[in-house]
């Protein structure tokens, strides 16, 4: 048990619960609940967006990848940053100009509301729920190691806090929690990176030389190919990062919390700064872990492997840098990171149910405000309870497949449908449905037949589909179906949808048109 970690953790929980109480008094309308009353400024939203992206998976997972593979980790570091350039250059301003609370608003702008919203709500849930579950299972295991709490207690703790934040504090509380955590993580990462560099006399070459000397694979870590060696896998990973990021519902929701397209643009610009900086640190932290953790008997189990697995490399490194005090700080930051990200995911899943499915599909967009808010809160509670139960059932299972499915669906369902609806005038409801469902089915089927499920979970000898990452094929399936079912659509509905593209195009370029006085 680490006393600093416990104190820091209680401090964080106390502050975030206070924020939730404060936010709950200001959360009265739908716009408050889903979009923090559209009152967040660009700088803060940039921090919150960066916070959404800098999950435990990035901080601990990508550090672990650099720690074990060296240069191959660069594929993730670059891809993770480039996804944001896609959002800035193609999506952010248009999203804010066209939508209200969720990206489904944009897809349904000129296409037929009910079927299209149903599909994009399924797309949102198919990303948010598996991702949430993967984070919860990871969180349970991590907290077990960091704080010595039993797995079930850790899962329930995370689940209860996230449900409280979202149910009562809505987007306002979620944004503030994400902002605080982003600052903590940036500070923590900076201290680790700075610590590593100062022990290396601020000489990058010295760091790499020392890493080569300590790493079991030696000089191979300064060349590609330790982990990724085939083109299809590399392209699928690249596509998943570059376009999948722009299909994550909890990230897209953030663009509706700002007052206008200008602030949406500023948000991403700040986010790119924070994310790029953090990604630069990750490589240094990973290499630092190679130098100071790999052969350090303090962190090795009796069988010579790293205590807690390679995901713990960043945490162990923090102990080398700043002793127990700093280890406690970083452990608490890792916990805060998980809490903030699962809250954002829960909110986006709740919005898909209450705003898209209930208010727009079931009630034709005429839902009563209080009923819709009540439904979103009930959904939050249901999601909270269900994910806690599932996460406890999945203890010790390999949940990598869940994160894999989430990112594949984000890149092959949500992003292409949103992108085509924004840019392609001949995109029709029929094309959207065919493309979206084709992308969804292809992702799921290929993940099932791939090595992660077919071999690891089902125990077959050889995978039917040889690649771990299905993104390339699933994205292509979506685009081909969307294209064919749009151009071959000769219906009256298709004609009028193509005509109203002009109105949508104007609004996406210059914002809602103001009446001339």
């Amino acid at each position: 048990m680490n006393v600093t970690a416990i104190i820091m953790f209680f401090l964080f929980v106390g502050i975030t619960l206070a924020i939730t109480i404060w936010a709950s008094k200001r959360t009265k309308t739908r716009s408050d609940f889903y979009a923090a009353g559209k009152s967040i400024g660009g700088f803060q939203n940039g921090l919150a967006i960066a916070g959404d992206f800098m999950s435990a998976a990035t901080f601990l997972g990508v550090t672990a990848l650099v720690y074990s593979t060296g240069m191959d980790g660069m594929l993730f570091i670059i891809g993770g940053t480039l996804g944001w350039a896609v959002i800035l250059l193609l999506v952010a301003e248009r999203l804010r100009n066209l939508g209200q609370y969720t990206f489904s608003d944009v897809v349904a702008f000129r296409l037929e509301r009910k079927p299209v919203r149903t599909m994009s709500a399924i797309g949102s849930l198919a990303v948010a729920i598996p991702y949430l579950l993967a984070q919860m299972v990871g969180a349970g295991a991590l907290i077990q190691i960091l704080f010595g709490l039993p797995y079930e207690v850790a899962v329930v703790l995370v689940g209860v806090l996230m449900t409280l934040y979202v149910m009562f504090g809505g987007m306002l509380a979620t944004t503030w929690i994400q902002t605080i955590k982003a600052v903590l993580l940036l500070v923590g990462g900076t201290i680790i990176g700075f610590g590593v560099m100062s022990m290396m006399n601020f000489d990058f070459s010295e760091l790499l030389t020392a890493a080569v000397k300590e790493h079991p694979k030696g000089p191979a870590i300064l060349a590609p190919g330790v982990m990724f060696t085939d083109t299809i896998t590399i392209i699928s990973i690249g596509l998943a990062f570059v376009f999948g990021t722009a299909g994550l519902p909890h990230v897209l929701m953030r663009f509706f919390t700002v007052p206008n397209a200008r602030q949406a643009r500023r948000s991403v610009a700040y986010a790119i700064g924070f994310i790029g900086y953090f990604q630069s640190l990750i490589f240094i932290i990973g290499m630092g872990a190679v130098v100071y953790v790999t052969n350090n008997p303090e962190f090795l189990g009796p069988d010579g492997s790293l205590l807690g697995g390679s995901n713990m490399s960043a945490i162990h490194l923090s102990k080398v840098i700043g002793g127990d005090l700093f280890l406690g700080f970083i452990s608490a930051v890792a916990f805060a990171t998980i809490l903030a990200v699962v809250s954002g995911l829960t909110l986006s899943a709740a919005a898909a149910v209450s705003h898209d499915l209930y208010a727009n599909v079931m009630k034709d967009g005429n839902a009563d405000r209080d009923t819709e808010l009540r439904i979103s809160r009930i959904t939050t509670l249901v999601i909270g309870l269900a994910t806690m139960a599932l996460a406890i059932l999945l203890e010790g299972e390999n949940v990598a497949v869940l994160a894999l499915i989430a990112l594949a669906i984000a890149a092959s369902v949500n992003f292409p449908v949103m992108f085509l609806s924004m840019y392609w005038s001949k995109f029709t409801t029929r094309g959207a449905l065919a493309g979206g469902y084709a992308g969804l089915a292809t992702s799921l089927i290929l993940v099932m037949l791939g090595p992660t499920v077919w071999v690891t979970l089902f125990g077959f000898e050889e995978a039917v589909f040889p690649y771990r990452y299905p993104t390339l094929f699933a994205m292509l399936a979506n685009l081909v179906f969307a294209w064919w079912f749009s151009v071959s659509d000769k219906s009256e509905r298709a004609r009028s949808e193509a005509e109203s593209f002009g109105t949508q195009w104007i609004q996406s370029e210059i914002g809602p048109v103001q009446e001339k006085i």
Binding site: M71, L82, G273, G276, V513
Partner: protein, 102 residues
Amino acid sequence: MLSQADKDILANRDFQKLVTVRRRVSWSFLTVLLGLYLAFGLMSVYAPGVLARPVGSDGVVPVGIVMGYAILAMTFILTLIYVWLANSFFEPLERKINGGTR
């Protein structure tokens, strides 16, 4: 049917200029960034030796790591340029088109 007001905007010279310039800027920035990333990915399969070759006099830091950091820096620089263009060029045009001279 499109309203007359919408038709006017679509035919507006300023609107067409805004659309064309913004499209060119966005897509050329994206092409540069994604092209570099693709080059990195393809080289790690077909020309791993190039990425592993050290740069500089002390011969330690490999091309691949320099390239990785260069792409991060490039993303940041292009972001700043885009924001500058948007503030000083796109937005005034948007205001001019949307709401006339107000």
